[in-house]
């Protein structure tokens, strides 16, 4: 039957096409300078992606291309599979990704250093948040949380709300829970440094914390349009973002690092 031949031919064509599109060699990257002409991955909407995009447009990275994935995890998967040469991402999630995946390493030279803060769209609330952050810094809660989540000190404890606390209303926090150790899922609940800090702040304000998990690039829009009261997602303060939302004082610093294959 001729139809069988047509089907077999079509199958062979698809196979040949897919094989022909294979190949392409990955680029060896030893430092930030080697990012020139490389295929670079990042999570869409993060400062890592924005800085790389700006540098490409300014002609600093030659023929480099930027691929913006929905999450850092997917960018790392693509890197492992050799689809891209490097991933630019915040230091702490980078450590978790490298720990969980063999054959990856973080370059010693960071791409850029930056400040993390909580984004808001309400000046009154911002002042209350800043005061709460100052108090948390003073009474050692913040250090303890950094010790627990960032330094992985086994003696440190995560935050727990004081017993018998009564809430008057709630505050909605927008986040993207794919960013360990700042926010991630554990036993079907969202935990992490940002979540604990936010909960500690809300407890101080007598408000119940409600978390809304969304795509990272929707967080600022959600705050602007009143769908969330504030955003906490390892967010860096940038000039463009400041034009549209307020940021609290910085509670920790982050580093954009480069992950490559070993």
């Amino acid at each position: 039957m001729k139809l069988t031949k047509i089907v077999a031919g079509a199958a062979a064509l698809v196979l040949a096409l897919s094989l022909a599109s294979c190949g392409g060699t990955s680029k060896k990257i030893e430092s930030a300078d080697d990012l020139v002409d490389a295929a670079i991955g990042a999570q869409g909407g993060t400062t890592g992606a924005i800085y790389i995009d700006d540098d490409i447009q300014d002609g600093l990275l030659g023929e480099a291309t930027l691929q913006e994935f929905k999450s850092g995890m997917e960018a790392v998967t693509a890197l492992k599979q050799g689809k891209i040469d490097a991933v630019v991402i915040d230091n702490e999630p980078a450590k978790v990704f490298v720990e969980q995946n063999d054959g990856l390493k973080i370059l010693e030279t960071p791409y850029i250093v930056e400040d993390y803060a909580i984004a808001k769209d309400n000046t009154e609330l911002k002042d209350q948040f800043n005061q709460a952050i100052a108090e948390l810094k003073e009474d050692g809660t913040l250090d303890q949380l950094l010790d627990y989540y960032i330094n992985k000190n086994e003696e440190a404890q995560p935050y727990t709300s004081p017993e018998g606390i009564e809430y008057d209303g709630k505050l909605i926090m927008a986040t993207n829970a794919q960013f360990p150790p700042y926010e991630y899922y554990e036993n079907e609940t969202i935990v992490g440094l940002d979540v604990d800090i936010a909960r500690a702040i809300c407890d101080k304000l007598g408000k119940e914390l409600e978390i809304s998990d969304m795509e990272f690039d929707s967080i600022i829009t959600a705050i602007q349009t009143g769908k969330a009261d504030f955003g906490a997602a390892g967010m860096t303060v940038t000039k463009d973002r400041l034009e549209n939302v307020d940021f609290t004082d910085s509670y920790t610093t982050g580093v954009q690092v480069i992950i490559v294959k070993e």
Binding site: M1, L3, L17, S21, Q67, D240
Partner: protein, 244 residues
């Protein structure tokens, strides 16, 4: 007088705000280029997937109807049914990511090619059922008439059944083409800069959702209108031989 002045001020302010926002979202840093390059990718993926989908769908429909009419091609028919079940039973965005991260694991491959393959295979399943319904809609008397005039099965299929079937399914095919265009908006999941992603990138730089989203929606709408006009023209041309 005061009233008109207030209204006038308000309109001037709104216009100024719109102009500022327009400048920030599209003109500054040549941000409109995200939309145009995204549109090129969207059209490339749609066109490629459409060709692949029609070829695949046509073959599958032929296999299925030939089996129904003659009882031959049992194994191929089983395979076609399996394909239809799996593809129509899973979401296209999941299929896209499976093709990229699982089937093409460990391969550096142009993502647009991946998207064409994924969307083409997906569309093929729906096109197959459209073609099959078209072939089945032709009266069995047409086949009998062809065969009794001395044409063999394949000749009857090609010269008598198919021309009528294709004409019948043209509106449904046009619909599938429009659906396909809009479905490609999930291409951003495998880091393709398509039209939707282009708008997302602008939103990520400017943090104003209003104009980028509306612009993206408007561009899709214009493309769909163009496609509709093309299908309508084709339908009218094929209808020329109809008796009125």
């Amino acid at each position: 007088m005061d009233f008109f002045q207030i209204i006038g001020d308000y309109i001037t302010k709104a216009a100024q705000g719109f102009a500022d926002s327009f400048y920030q979202n599209f003109i500054e840093d040549n941000r409109w280029k995200y939309l145009t390059s995204g549109l090129v990718n969207t059209l490339l993926i749609t066109a490629g997937a459409l060709v692949l989908g029609v070829v695949l769908g046509f073959l599958i429909a032929l296999i299925r109807t030939t089996h129904d009419k003659t009882g031959k091609l049992g194994f191929l028919n089983w395979l076609a049914k399996l394909y239809l079940t799996v593809i129509r039973g899973t979401p296209v965005v999941v299929q896209l990511m499976i093709v990229y991260f699982v089937i093409f694991a460990s391969v550096r491959i142009n993502q647009v090619v991946v998207a064409i393959i994924a969307f083409g295979i997906n569309s093929g399943a729906y096109v197959a059922e459209i073609f099959r319904s078209g072939i089945m809609s032709i009266d069995p008397g047409q086949m009998e008439a062809g065969r009794s005039l001395g044409l063999n099965y394949r000749q009857t299929m090609w010269k008598i059944i198919m021309p009528q079937a294709v004409k019948n399914v043209l509106p449904a095919l046009g619909n599938e083409m429009i659906t396909l265009l809009k479905e490609t908006s999930v291409a951003g999941y495998i880091a393709i800069r398509d039209l939707t992603k282009g708008g997302d990138i602008i939103r990520n730089r400017t943090y104003s959702p209003f104009l980028p989203l509306l612009a993206v929606a408007a561009i899709y709408l214009v493309i769909v209108l163009i496609l509709q006009a093309l299908v309508g023209r084709m339908e009218r041309r094929l209808a020329k031989s109809d008796r009125n």
